[in-house]
Symmetry: C2
Amino acid sequence: MTTRTVQPGDGVGEASTGGPLRIGLVSGPMVAIPPPAYAGTERIVAVLVDELARRGHHVTLIGPADSKVDCELVPTIDQALWSSGISGDATPYIEVTIERAWSVANRFDVIHSHLDTLSFSFARHSPVPVLHTLHGRLDMPGVPELLDEFRDIPLVAISESQRRWWPKNNWVAMVHHGLPLENAPFSEHAGKYLAFVGRITAEKGVQAAIELARSVKLPLHMAAKVHEEDEKRLFAEVVAPAIAKGIVVFEGELATPERDKLLAGALATVLLGAWPEPFGLVAIESMATGTPVIARRAGALPEIVDHGLTGFLVDDLHEARFAVRGIATLDRAAVRRTVLERFSVARMVDEYEAVYRRMAASTATLRR
Amino acid sequence: MTTRTVQPGDGVGEASTGGPLRIGLVSGPMVAIPPPAYAGTERIVAVLVDELARRGHHVTLIGPADSKVDCELVPTIDQALWSSGISGDATPYIEVTIERAWSVANRFDVIHSHLDTLSFSFARHSPVPVLHTLHGRLDMPGVPELLDEFRDIPLVAISESQRRWWPKNNWVAMVHHGLPLENAPFSEHAGKYLAFVGRITAEKGVQAAIELARSVKLPLHMAAKVHEEDEKRLFAEVVAPAIAKGIVVFEGELATPERDKLLAGALATVLLGAWPEPFGLVAIESMATGTPVIARRAGALPEIVDHGLTGFLVDDLHEARFAVRGIATLDRAAVRRTVLERFSVARMVDEYEAVYRRMAASTATLRR
């Protein structure tokens, strides 16, 4: 992406000169902002809304009407799907969201979409620049063809791992997530159990976590929702027997404060899934409480976990056992300090702000 | 490790001034040098013997008497164990090897042991400096205690992955392996099958390789020995049914030329084992023939495979399928060129030579 330097007073407005920007953030129909229960993407949107508004930008959220934000809200649907209990294909609701964004596009200097691939056409044809942060894995059916078709539109990856398949696309930045982690509780003492927070799916490494807990003779405290059919099946097959044997303490789906308490009280949080996790918020949430992470070297985790400092990266169960053995030697205050620096809201929003300014400036220049 | 500059003519001999060194290479009892069939460690020893002698050093191999080398040989046992068919615990033979090395130690400027941990005591108490290259994984029972005890002795790791658990040991270098890869056959055309070369063990990803081949509808050509009980069991359970279904073409244990031909003719070589492979010679051997590698992000493979250039790094079966889809777009000449540069004998021996000189010089200085 080439940008031209814009001189003060050349009539292109504040966007390119460091003043407030008019920013439209587009969020999907699934979850309101901020999310009432555990969510990934929507928490990042909530943080962006808050911090960009705090910095004096004119922020508009284009999202579910039951969102509660301190900025202008352009409602897309009356109630977010997770809370209204609607399941099945969300595509029509996303199309509604995109149309709503399109209808107000001209009011912004830059639009930032979190709808993943469905709004790629919008990005190409919108009158104002549209940035996409991609939140998912990029090798699923059809996504490769889409990324090939849309090599021009500006994209942000959330990890190097996520974008490594797509060197020819227009990645304007890689921005690791940031969260207000300084609010997390901190425990300076290593606990006596392993923690698992996530979904009860094979890809999240449920079985490996249980197997590890069994072999190191530590209880595994699990916080997870069990809603979908495949979650229920894996729960019955793998988790329930481990509860019966006293290996797993199952705490269900926890609200954020209880979940943070679970993380803070653990010896280590385990992320042993063999899948390309695009980021891994649980990892940074755990480390913020002082609890280091034992993670498989997959997805973004090698970028997030500093081996020997904030946790250990492992390749198999044997290494995971070995990691458990050494994990209490890590300095929990250093774990927290490191992650608060690396994954702060300030750092993330700085990086997005820089992208917004470049995009707004380049359009302003073109519009002259 | 601190070394002092030694002035010419100060009486410490050639060791510290760039002249030939007297080097003792210690190799285990399992395999003769050079190895008659597939081997890992012993091939590296063979390369070191040849290239160090070619560079004018006074090289002595301390190893099995049936070795055939162009240098002095101090025989340890009459016949290497693999060819004499002796199985079971090799420890007594390794102890004999160490004693033989000790008995001639004074003849060398530096001794380089490939016996892994059993010769650590030798390194500490020997009258001349002893370097260890560690070839295995370092988290097995007892190894941690040993490494803690022997923090002083100079070690070389064969990958960053291998040494990442042991930041406090005396790593004088990390030296990736090098092989005479320029002799490998080259095929500029992508083949129509996947290749697997290795052991028939779960950790090498046998099942994942077969599952991948099945799902992308490509035959999997496998070259592997099936000697041990666990190899036979996995073969019967997993490989034999896949042969019956026409997924696997099993070629048995191949000599190097046939194995190279197998690699050269493939679309890709797959290394999907979820274990901390300390290096992964098969990866560089495949790439030398122009055939890129599809490897799980485990062990040293992320250091060896340049994602998008010499192969693809994957986290799960879905990504592996995706990698198969794109692998034919890689430039096979570039694959070969890259690996010949990065994993050359010259580069490896340069790095070891530098370590030898530092060690010899520091001792020579101490002896004054």
